[in-house]
């Protein structure tokens, strides 16, 4: 028996298949992955993301701590904005990727992966103590429920339970407001490549808010979405998933995360990352499409002229593009777009080619 979000009974009532995900009992699908995937792209999907962690960093030196432990220059993030960042160890290996919500220079919320909540929290506390920073680090993960509401109809549906005009939010900004009377944090952001929102509010209100959104969104095609479609949605947009595209053995340069690193400032891991840049990055994360028939999945091996050159981190049959595609680490010398590679699927080598990322991008703007 795993950890339970406050919505487990709601999922069971909706007929979800429940699986273990990083120690949590989570819905992997309600009807089927393709239907849920398409519902999110075309109408609206509602995701239980209560398993993810919320860590608050507050106080006089909250800014200093985050400058130190995260890859982003916090001074460049405006109040009310979000930034995607990584936390690295001294070797430049990725401890986690996270979003930083900046309330002001003395108050931040870090939204972290479920499986890394405790290590991230301990790491922040350890560095704060070591540097003697005047800062309070609080793990509020079990106080906040988190739902993602994603898709072209998400704004219209969420507006009905939100007490401010959602037009006030632009991409990667947030505001505090009330959700059917519950105090919440609402951001325009997500993990699907669609217009969408992430909402945070008291843990115990999860069931009420969940049911309300499903009820109010019915006409606009809202559907509950499991982790299966969450994975295909993010993969089409080439968004990384911790434990697949990155871990402590990969640096941001390898994991296509150089863009979340501000090398103008100091942060833990920076020197190692720059040293790696100098020396040459051994492997790179690339996107591929299958040329031969077959679906390449994690952790199938990748070959070129008989030499093993990498492995698949994530792969699927893309419901939107109807192509077998995926992400893979490849030795840098082979990691250019257009390069042909072979992926071992069971006992056969199947041809694939490296393609530009992302696989999918919403054309009418998010």
């Amino acid at each position: 028996m795993g950890l339970k979000t406050p919505l487990l009974e709601n999922h069971k009532k909706l007929g979800a298949t429940i699986v273990d995900f990083g120690g949590w009992d989570m819905p992997v699908q309600y009807t089927n992955v393709i239907e849920e995937h398409n519902a999110t792209r075309n109408a609206c999907g509602l995701f239980d993301i209560c398993h993810m962690g919320e860590i608050f960093v507050e106080g006089e030196q909250a800014f200093d701590l985050l400058q130190k432990v995260t890859s982003r220059d916090i001074s460049k993030i405006k109040n009310g904005k979000i930034a995607l960042a990584v936390m690295c160890n001294e070797k430049g290996g990725i401890i986690d990727d996270l979003t930083i919500y900046k309330f002001n220079g003395k108050k931040f919320m870090l939204v972290v992966n479920a499986s890394n909540e405790i290590p991230d929290f301990e790491w922040c506390k350890k560095i704060a103590k070591h540097e003697k920073f005047h800062v309070k680090v609080t793990n509020s993960s079990r106080e906040f429920a988190k739902l993602d509401i994603q898709g072209p109809n998400s704004k219209k549906i969420l507006q009905q339970i939100t007490d401010f005009d959602l037009n006030e939010l632009s991409f990667y900004t947030f505001k505090e407001g009330n959700l059917i009377g519950f105090p919440g944090i609402i951001s325009q952001s997500g993990y699907t490549g669609e217009l969408g929102y992430e909402i945070y509010f008291p843990w115990n209100a999860a069931s009420e808010v969940w049911d309300k959104l499903l009820e109010l969104g019915k006409e606009d095609g809202i559907k509950p979405i499991g982790l299966g479609a969450r994975d295909t949605l993010r993969l089409e947009c080439a968004m990384n998933l911790y434990g697949h595209e990155m871990d402590e053995n990969k640096t941001p340069l390898e994991a296509r995360y150089a863009w979340v690193c501000d090398f103008e400032k100091d942060f833990i891991g920076k020197e190692a990352i720059l040293a790696q840049k100098e020396k040459g990055v051994p492997s790179k994360l690339v996107g591929f499409e299958m040329v031969d028939r077959g679906i390449a999945r994690n952790p199938y091996k990748v070959f070129k002229n008989g030499e093993e050159i990498g492995y698949v981190t994530s792969g699927t049959m893309s419901p939107t593009l109807k192509k077998a595609l995926g992400l893979s680490y490849i030795k840098s010398e082979h990691a250019s777009v257009g390069e042909e590679i072979e992926i071992q699927i069971r006992d056969k080598l199947c041809m694939a080619k490296i393609v530009k990322l992302p696989f999918y991008k919403k054309t009418d703007g998010v």
């Binding site: 007929g15 992997v28 699908q29 089927n32 992955v33 393709i34 995937h37 299966g228 994975d231 295909t232 028939r293 077959g294 679906i295 999945r297 699927t316 049959m317 419901p319 077998a324 069971r346």
Partner: protein, 132 residues
């Protein structure tokens, strides 16, 4: 959940394959229960014609968006025909697992092997038991 009735003109395996014998030829596929459990089948790897299938050994592969599943031969014998329309239309298995979604035909080597399989009634009971 309500599944399509398991037809009485064939036999069943514990791994949820069905097999129908006509003139010594076994036509096989997966059951409606199995296609429900797999959900969206998006890839089919068929067995090779001319190869020898062995009862209860994996000989084909079905993949959904999320998962990879082996298909086991319900009887031993030479594979004489495969449903070659499936690679281009794997959804046929979801749409009609007991009919147009058939997977392969095997020339039955030993009819005694059929005694290792379940009747429709026994398979119904087996599903009831395993759903608890």
């Amino acid at each position: 959940m309500v599944f399509e009735l398991n037809p009485h003109d064939r036999k069943y395996t514990k791994e949820h394959e069905w097999v129908k014998i006509e003139n010594g030829i076994a036509t096989m596929g997966i059951t409606d229960y199995a296609q429900h459990a797999l959900t969206d089948i998006v890839f089919v790897e068929l067995p090779e014609i001319g190869k020898h299938a062995q009862q209860f050994k994996a000989f084909a592969v079905l993949e959904s968006v999320k998962s990879v599943s082996d298909v086991y031969a319900p009887v031993s014998g030479e594979i004489i025909e495969v449903n070659s329309s499936l690679p281009d239309a794997p959804e046929k298995i979801n749409n009609d697992a007991f009919g147009i979604g058939w997977i392969a035909k095997i020339k039955v080597k030993d009819e005694k092997e059929l005694d290792n399989l379940m009747s429709a009634h026994e398979y119904d009971e087996y599903l009831k038991k395993s759903s608890h």
